[in-house]
């Protein structure tokens, strides 16, 4: 596993601690996704897989932010 993908994996594991479906579920999914790409040799393919991972990170951050915002809005603001 390259340094780059290792960092990505760790970052995503950390993000998974807040996952609505639970950390174990997320960890399994993440591991499977990484295992599926473990045989990649071509640098171009690896790069695109990592770019996809970084996209997922952004999506997760947006998901958490929106979820928190909505929960607070529902609790404190009437509309």
């Amino acid at each position: 596993m390259s340094q780059q993908s290792r960092t990505l994996y760790k970052t995503m594991l950390h993000l998974g601690k807040d996952y609505p479906g639970g950390y174990p579920y997320f960890r399994n999914k993440l591991k499977n996704a990484f295992m599926k790409n473990s045989a990649l040799k071509d640098q171009k393919e690896i790069d695109s897989a990592i770019a996809r991972g970084e996209f997922v990170i952004k999506e997760l951050e947006a998901l958490y932010m929106l979820r928190k915002y909505r929960a607070l809005k529902k609790r404190y603001y009437e509309e």
């Binding site: 970052t11 950390h14 993000l15 932010m65 979820r67 929960a71 607070l72 609790r75």
Partner: protein
Amino acid sequence: MSLRILVGVKRVIDYAVKIRVKPDKSGVITEGVKHSMNPFDEIAIEEAVRMKEKKIAKEIVAFSCGPAQCQETLRTALAMGADRGIHVEVAGPQFDTLQPLHISKMLAQLAKDEQIDLIIVGKQAIDDDCNQTAQMTAALLDWPQATSASKIEAKDGSLQVVREIDGGLETIKVKLPTVVSADLRLNEPRYATLPNIMKAKKKPIKKLTPKDLGVDVSPRIEVVTVEEPPVRLAGAKVENVDMMVEKLKALGHA
């Protein structure tokens, strides 16, 4: 402008956790429950960090008061972009009866000690919902206050703040130094990523006791009882419109 900003952050039970009351009704269960930074305080930190990125601020000091685990909350604040942390340790029964007034006194003292120009706090914490800290801090320091801020613009020596008030918005101008409390729509806080949390471990956290700040935290109140909100009653199904009208009439709605 190069402001020194003090941001108050509180460690609360995570917003997504289902709160449970202790069987003896003395409080809520906190052991083994996920805690995180109060969401309104995240917004406060984010605003300070954005001010620093715009070169309006030069230093951000994050402050938290509570048990040792508050250091984690401070780390999150540092990971989001605060420069250093101050942790005032209060634990056990004293922490249970800690009131916004105590925090305000600490913030006021720190503001003097650290030559702070701007204090930003969340407008309220999601655990006790007090919404008092900013107001009392401003009073203790005799500084102007801009509470429930949904937009902040710095203009030399003052801030123009848009406030959320009942049924609309209010724009006010306050002279610095001042106290601001952050409302929900002020900004969208960034996520504290793992690399940033690692980097934040190098940032300093100063540990103080309430005594160092001249604040007496001995309990003045006693929690008599904490109770769960009433459970929502189940509804009933009706066969057709006529039956519904009948039911509504019986309930006095029509």
